[in-house]
Amino acid sequence: MASIFEKLGNTDRRIIFILIALAVIIPIITHLTFPNPVGAEPSRDMYEYVDAMPSGCNVLLSFDYDPSTMPELQPMAVAIVTHLMNKDINIVGMALWPQGASLGQEVMSSVADSLGKVQYEDWCNLGYKTGGGIMIVRLGSSMSAVFPTDRDNLPWEEIPMLEYISDLSSFDLVISLSAGDPGIPAWVMMAGDRFGVPVGGGCTAVSAPQFYTYLQTGQMVGMLGGLKGAADYETLVGIEGGPAVRGMAPQSVAHLVIMLFIVIGNVAYLSEKKKGGRG
C-alpha cells in the first residue's frame, strides 16, 4: 500500500490546476486586498526620476509588448501615463511590437480623456515600425524619417506637439514597456548608450532579472518588474484600487500555493529517498 508521501508525490496535475485556479479566483471574488508597501525597489527609482522632471518635458513611451503580456504591462502603462500626464509632460507614444501600438493607444486615449488632455497637443501615438534596434538608431538622426505620419496617418508636420522634436536628443526620457526582443536592451544600447538619452522601463517579472545589470551601471534610471512593479507605481502615483494593486492578492495566494506544492513535492521526494527509492 502506497504511503501518504507517495500519494502526495503523485498528485494528479488536474488537482494542481484546480487549486491554482481557486487561489486566483477566490481572492478576486472576495475582493481580498493586501497593503502594498514600496521599499527600496527599482520601481521607486523610476517614480522618483519621473517625479523630478519639470512640466513641459518630452517623454518617448514605447509600447513593446502584445496582448499576451498585457495583464502585467498594461497596468504599468496606465500608471506611468497617469503620472506623466499629471505632471504635464508631453508623451510621444510608439511601438516596436505591432500590437503594442493599439494597446498604447487604448491607454493614452483613456487616461487623457479622464485627465482632460488633448491628442496632438499633450500626447500622440506614432504607431509601429519594424526594425527594432536599427530603427532606434535611425530615430537618433531623424524621427520624421522613420515616422512620416502618426498611427492615424496624420503627417508629422501637422502635429503641433512634434514641432520641436527632431530626433532622440529631443527627449528627456525614453520609457520602454518591454515583453521581450526588441525592447529594453535595444533602447538601452541604442538610445541610452549611443545617443545619451536616459532610459527607464517596465517588463514582465520573468524578464526582470536580466535588467538589474542595467540598473547597477546606471544605464537605466529605474524599472518596473512584473505586476509588483506596476502595483508599486500605482501606489506611488496614488491610483486607488488600480488593477495591479488588486492583482497582488491573487498573485500572493497563487505564489503560496505553488510554494506549498514545491514543499509537498520535496517532502515526498525526501521520504522516498530515505526509503531507498528514486534519487
Binding site: F34, E41, R151, D152
Partner: protein, 207 residues
C-alpha cells in the same frame, strides 16, 4: 559570382555601418542612414512573407487533411477577417479593426499566456527538488524571490523584500552580466567573421 557578390555586399554594408558608428559626417552618414531605412523596408517585407507562409501552411494542411487540420480554417478566417477589416476601415481607435483587436485578440492573447501559471505550478511541483546543496540553494533563493515579489512576503517578515532585492542586485546581476558579456563578445566575433567572409553559413552553405 554567386558567392562573390553576396560576400561583397556583406563586406561593403558591414563596413559602412561600422564606420557610421564612429564617423558622423558625410558621405558615411548619408550611406548609413539610408542603409538603416533599407533594413526597415526589407524587415517589413518579411511580414508579407510570414503572412504568405501562414496561408500556405494552413491551406496545405486543409488540402491534405493533416493532423488538427480542423483548426486551420479558423486561423485563415481570423487572419483574413482582421486583414480585410484593417484594410477597409484602418486601425484608428473606435473602428471595427480596433474593436475586434481590443475585444477578441487582446483577451485571447492574455488568456493563452495566463495558462502558463498552471503549467509552471505543475512543473515546479514535479521538478523543483532539493536533490543536492546547489539545488537547495536555488530552491531557497526562489522562495525568497517569490515571497519578496508579493506583498504577503513583507507581511510575513519585512526583511524578505530586502533579501529579494539583494539577491536580484548582487548574485543575479553577477551571473547575468557574465552571460551578457559572453553573448556580446560572441555577437562581435560572429559579425566580424560574417563581414570578412569567414562565416558563410548565412548564404545557405555548410561552412
Amino acid at each position: 559570382m554567386r558567392l562573390v557578390i553576396p560576400l561583397a555586399i556583406t563586406f561593403v554594408t558591414g563596413m559602412i555601418m561600422v564606420l557610421h558608428f564612429f564617423v558622423p559626417h558625410q558621405p558615411i552618414k548619408f550611406l548609413g542612414d539610408n542603409l538603416q531605412e533599407w533594413y526597415m523596408i526589407v524587415a517589413s517585407a518579411a511580414i508579407f512573407l510570414g503572412a504568405l507562409n501562414l496561408m500556405h501552411v494552413h491551406l496545405r494542411k486543409i488540402k491534405l487533411k493533416l493532423k488538427n487540420w480542423k483548426y486551420s480554417p479558423i486561423t485563415i478566417i481570423g487572419f483574413l477577417l482582421m486583414l480585410v477589416t484593417g484594410l477597409i476601415y484602418g486601425v484608428t481607435e473606435g473602428k471595427p479593426f480596433d474593436f475586434m483587436f481590443m475585444n477578441l485578440v487582446a483577451p485571447m492573447g492574455a488568456t493563452m499566456f495566463s495558462l502558463l501559471a498552471f503549467f509552471v505550478a505543475s512543473a515546479a511541483f514535479r521538478a523543483f527538488r532539493a536533490s543536492n546543496w546547489r539545488a537547495t540553494l536555488l530552491l531557497t533563493a526562489a522562495f525568497i524571490v517569490m515571497l519578496g515579489q508579493v506583498p504577503i512576503g513583507a507581511m510575513i517578515w519585512d526583511k524578505i523584500p530586502l533579501a529579494k532585492v539583494w539577491l536580484m542586485s548582487i548574485p543575479n546581476t553577477a551571473g547575468q552580466r557574465a552571460v551578457m558579456i559572453g553573448a556580446a563578445m560572441g555577437v562581435v566575433s560572429t559579425s566580424l567573421r560574417m563581414i570578412f567572409g569567414i562565416e558563410r553559413s548565412y548564404l545557405g552553405g555548410t561552412d
